[in-house]
């Protein structure tokens, strides 16, 4: 009982921090004290001060504002990618699991194929070929990502396919689409949704990693990975331009991973 409470507290705590981070990302444009794209030759590589909380970078841009704008890019790109993969994967998995047949065979083989190769290798190659850009990076990561949701949704659909309430619904003359939406989806949603939650941290690592390599978000767009990559060249002179975006990245990933973990554990107890 005590442990239950402990897990619940962990979950609520991490959820609150996550919501705060999301709010910061949403309102980053209002919160930023300066224009993150405004260069200023007089303010190059200034150390953190009251005016510029995180200092300025090589072009005299406000690092604090750029970190805030970067939150929006990184967090929303991640959410968008996870959401799209989740929707595509869940629909594909449900249809495959429920109907079976040739479509199931083909789609699952495809998923096997995607799963058979290292995700980051595929992502680097695909993003590289597509020539960079946030969209390219998201496609590159999404190609392999949807398959894990599809597999999960499929296996859960298979396990409830023969349940009496589904059979009853069939006997009542309901169509496949109706049964999938009304009976199957609500019953498989929870495990797939939790899996989506645990993928947020990894996806964030992937997107910022690709941006760091120059295969994702491109300069001057503010994104943590590309900011770190850019400022790395003059880290000796202006370490703050690297350390603050680095801290932001670490905190965000840790919070979302912690939330995913807590959620997993919470569910395992029930």
């Amino acid at each position: 009982m005590k442990e239950q409470k402990h897990i619940k507290r962990r979950f609520i705590l991490s959820a609150v921090v996550a919501v705060i981070l999301i709010l910061i990302a949403i309102f980053s444009h209002q919160l930023a004290p300066h224009d993150p794209y405004q260069t200023n030759a007089a303010l190059i590589r200034k150390a953190p001060s009251m005016e510029y909380l995180f200092g300025t970078d090589n072009l005299g841009r406000c690092v604090f504002s750029r970190v805030l704008y970067g939150a929006k890019t990184t967090i929303f790109a991640t959410f968008f990618l996870v959401a799209i993969s989740f929707v595509i994967g869940t629909i594909a998995g449900m249809i495959c699991g429920y109907y079976g047949g040739i479509a199931d065979n083909i789609l699952m083989r495809l998923a096997d194929l995607m799963l058979a190769f290292p995700q980051m290798v595929v992502a680097i190659a695909v993003a590289g070929i597509l020539g960079g850009g946030l969209m390219g990076a998201m496609i590159a990561l999404g190609i392999t990502m949807w398959t894990s949701f599809a597999r999960l949704a499929r296996s859960h659909t298979l396990s409830i396919k023969k349940a009496p309430y589904i059979t009853a619904s069939k006997l009542a003359g309901k169509g496949g689409a109706y049964i999938l939406c009304v009976h199957v989806l609500p019953n498989i949603l929870e495990p797939v949704l939790i899996s989506a939650l645990t993928q947020i941290g990894t996806t964030m690592i992937g997107i910022s990693g690709l941006s760091f390599l120059g295969l994702g978000v491109v300069a001057p767009e503010a994104e943590w990975g590309s900011m770190i990559s850019e400022a790395r060249a003059y880290i000796q002179i202006a370490p703050w331009a690297v350390l603050y975006p680095a801290a932001a990245t670490i905190i965000t990933i840790v919070v979302f991973n912690y939330l995913g973990d807590a959620m997993m554990e919470y569910r395992n107890r029930h």
Binding site: L113, A116, F117, P118, Q119, M120, V121, V122, A123, I124, A125, V126, G128, I129, L130, G131, G201, I205, S208, G209, F212, L213, L215, G225, I228, S229, R232, I235, Q236, P239, V242, L243, A246, T249, I250, I253, V254, N257, Y258, D261
Partner: protein, 308 residues
């Protein structure tokens, strides 16, 4: 058993053929014209005639399946084609890079295992102890750190603040320490977490309780039974991490300028040198699939109950 291995090998070959086709198709539809890139990087004034002649010379104008067929047959002979960038054969470039990458990857894999196996097991045995808590926190944070961040931070503290290591990792053994660490930290964290879970699950099994009741010593149960039963899982965990290791080494090699296959592919992406990128994907895919097949076979040998 032999028959099953044969089936798996045939499956693997089919998988690789499909992969090669997909890789090739991707290059085919990719935006950007390698002939133009090449000409402009050589400083040639690009006119329509020159461009067309260059495309012809590079073999870009022939039909898809002819090009794919030639490429595929070449690979069977160990020939990965000619680089678009400098007209040198791709295979030796890939091979040299791969050797350097293997040095780096094996080093960090070994380091990760040396840390994570004892820590993971000890954590599981002394559950909820001080040691366990610290190990869990550290491995959780380590698991959340992207490779590129670790290497930038390590570089900052060790090369700049302490001036203890060279920044660029070309050659010397000392230069290998930071890249190895950068790859090993997240991997060791992941291993520690997974090994802890695995061993903890085993410790809760009935046979452990049974052995305890029979009076068998704890360390004896741990080494002879629990470890024996976990080793197959640990093997799978390691095999599955090879993929992450490959992706990570691209990042790390680029940062530390280690002349491995990952740095080679990043340079080739910038230059749109498709034969190198295709070779990279195919080689990495083959190694990954091969290692996972071997791990399945080993698992099967260790534990005959494992289904294929």
């Amino acid at each position: 058993m032999k028959k099953q291995i044969a089936i798996r090998v045939i499956e693997l070959i089919l998988l690789l053929i499909v992969l090669s086709l997909l890789t090739f198709a991707l290059m085919y539809i990719a935006p950007g014209d390698p002939a133009e890139k090449r000409l402009s990087s050589q400083g040639v004034a690009v006119t329509r005639e020159v461009l067309q002649a260059e495309r012809e010379r590079m073999g870009l104008l022939r039909p898809f399946f002819v090009r794919y067929g030639e490429w595929f047959v070449g690979i069977l002979h160990g020939d990965f084609g000619i680089s678009f960038k400098d007209d040198l054969p791709v295979a030796p470039k890939l091979w040299n890079g791969l050797q350097n990458t293997i040095v780096l990857a094996m080093g960090s894999l070994l380091l990760s295992l040396l840390v994570s196996v004892p820590v993971g097991i000890f954590s599981a045995v002394k559950r909820n102890s001080m040691f366990d808590h610290i190990a869990r926190i550290l491995s959780f944070v380590g698991n959340s750190l992207p490779n590129f961040l670790i290497s930038v931070l390590l570089m900052y503290f060790f090369c700049i603040q302490l001036d203890a290591f060279p920044i660029i990792a070309t050659g010397s053994l000392q230069g290998l320490i930071l890249p190895t660490l950068s790859l090993a930290i997240p991997m060791a964290s992941r291993f520690t977490r997974q090994i802890r879970t695995e061993v903890a699950t085993q410790m809760d099994e009935d046979y452990v309780v049974g052995l305890r009741l029979k009076g068998v010593k704890e360390h004896y149960i741990l080494l002879r039974n629990v470890f024996h039963n976990s080793i197959g899982h640990i093997f799978t965990i390691v095999a599955l991490q090879i993929g992450t290791l490959m992706g990570g080494s691209v990042v790390i090699e680029t940062i530390f300028r280690w002349p491995g296959i990952g740095k080679l592919v990043m340079d080739s992406i910038t230059a749109r040198d498709y034969p190198v990128i295709m070779g990279f994907v195919l080689i990495m895919g083959t190694i990954y699939v091969g290692i996972n097949l071997i791990s399945d076979i080993v698992n099967r040998i260790i534990d005959p109950r494992v289904e294929w």
